[in-house]
Amino acid sequence: MFYRESGDFKTSYIQDQQIFPILQDRVFVTVIIAFAFLVVPFLINDYWEKSVLLPVLIWSLAAIGLNILTGYCGQVSLGTGGFMAVGAYASYKFTTAFPELNLFIVVLLSGGVTAMVGILFGLPSLRIKGFYLAVATLASQFFLVWLFNKVPWFYNYSASGQINAPERLIAGIAVTGPNAPPWATYLFCLVFVVVFALVAKNLTRGRFGRSWMAIRDMDIAAEIIGVAPLKAKLSAFSISSFYIGIAGALFFLVYLGAVEPTEAFGIDKSFLVLFMIIIGGLGSILGSFIGAAFMFLMPVLIKNILVNGLGWSPDIVAHLILMIVGGLIMFFLIVEPHGLAQLWRVTKEKLRLWPFPH
């Protein structure tokens, strides 16, 4: 009734091409972003920061990254964990080598390093497709984690083999390390997520995004139109890795603080992000957010209800969560293969006509 587009006429192509063509969507998103920036920092506490907001933001960023590669360009990758590790170790090396360097720049540089590594491991995609490519990227996952375990230079020869995020200040406020206030770490991540979600949307609706989707949908026709497969695939690999690298850097610097590569960036992380985009919706930026929130918060929610609410023992619940999440993944794949984002789109279509659908 209130959600509709009748009377909302577009009189220019600029209006027609905006990200949210429907007025209500624009208002809604503006309110959410304003709430996230202006209200949440005053309400946030340690629990919400560490258990909900930070991980959801960081995983969203990783999911956007993988969605660019898999959802938009159609190249399946199982190397996400490895690329996150590259981002984490690059940020560690940068910030320990140049302690004065602003943390924003450190994170961006780490993304840049990961982008280069991504191009390198994207090279096989020019020859192989589909499942075979997935196996090839699996190699990058194992190789990179092995590398960071094996070569002491990456962890500055520390005895434990771990890397620890040193305390770094931005404008006099700690953003990393144990003394960082929750609102500071939250805002730091939020800035990255909001800015780069917008950038991802801009890239995917323009020339680059169309060249990726052309390669995904019909690579022969893409070539006939003038899209060079080399350029399209490698640009998707590099930009995707850039996002995943930033996510890895934030994951290490701000969220975990200390990292041991096998545990933090194992193959399970690659699958987690892949599930996020499949459940959220391939080829959708919004879907990346929904998928990340769903995959991360669903276990938290189930745990809260069963352990804290009903008093079940935590180890039984831990197993139950695996079964429930697995079941939900199968359910969604069968019922809605295009993910939650598609479900949302269908709901919107229905809402436009509600309550008089005829």
Binding site: Y13, F208, R210, S211, I220, E223, I224, I225, P229, S235
Partner: protein
């Protein structure tokens, strides 16, 4: 059909092209030319090598022997996306649209080689990227009007009926504003009405935009009506080349199409 096609104004010429896959000779010593502004038909029975010929022109296949001259210059070993930049667009026998994208996006993708915005301006969007997007949108809208597909502008092409998909594919090829348009069986599988529409579009493209067209088609009525000159292939060899009337009365062509008893 343009009456102003000049005899010596050659856009594309293939000389002595031979192509084989292993032991199979797909094309043997084929030569013909396409003049600027004409509608050139390539016909022949199934397996004659027509699509192979288009694939050679496109750069998908690389002939073992022979030369390709385009726009007065000899073309060397080129990949399909480089050929596209020269100004050769094409449609496919089996529809090869980008199924996940809308009609509008398919046509916009067709303008890929015309767009210049770099990565950074794409990321920022506001500014050069947006200006370019609007500018190309206007051109695409002209094509949408021309093909009368306004109503399906935002429909994902996977949901469109077959005839419409063929039309969108023609639109995508037109969007590139190429010098030479290759149409691989543009009317295959269409009913009479759709065929008539498509013929009209092909002729209009030829006349209004001055685009040179080479098409493969099985419907002889269509071929004889809309093409200026016809080249006939059979078993990878050239059987005949000339005006529709010459080809129609050619003994070898009749044999190849109707079959003869060898007595």
């Amino acid at each position: 059909m343009q009456d102003t096609v000049k005899e010596d104004d050659i856009l594309l010429e293939v000389r002595n092209i031979s192509l084989s896959f292993g032991g199979v000779r797909a094309l043997e010593n084929i030569s013909f030319d396409i003049r600027k502004g004409e509608v050139r038909a390539i016909i022949g029975p199934n397996g004659a090598g027509k699509s192979s010929m288009l694939n050679v022109i496109n750069g998908f296949y690389h002939p073992q022997e022979g030369e390709i001259w385009f726009d007065g210059k000899r073309r060397h070993h080129m990949k399909p996306h480089q050929v596209a930049k020269l100004g050769i667009a094409r449609t496919f026998q089996n529809i090869a649209l980008f199924k996940g994208m809308s009609t509008l996006d398919n046509l916009m993708t067709g303008r890929y080689i015309k767009m210049r915005a770099n990565l950074f301006s794409q990321m920022v969007w506001v500014g050069p990227a947006q200006r370019e997007e609007v500018e190309h949108r206007q051109r695409v809208e002209e094509i949408i009007d021309f093909l009368k597909i306004q109503s399906i502008r935002k429909t994902p092409v996977g949901k469109l009926p077959y005839g419409m998909q063929k039309r969108v594919e023609l639109g995508r090829a037109l969007a590139a504003e190429s010098k030479l348009l290759l149409l691989d069986e543009p009317m295959a599988g269409m009913n009479l009405e759709e065929k008539e529409d498509m013929c009209r579009f092909v002729l209009d493209v030829n006349e209004q935009f001055g685009t040179t067209i080479a098409l493969i088609e099985h419907d002889m009525g269509v071929v004889m009506d809309i093409s200026n000159r016809v080249v006939v292939l059979d078993y990878g060899k050239k059987l005949a080349d000339g005006s529709p009337d010459e080809v129609r009365n050619n003994e070898k062509v009749i044999d190849a199409y109707l079959g003869v008893s060898h007595d």
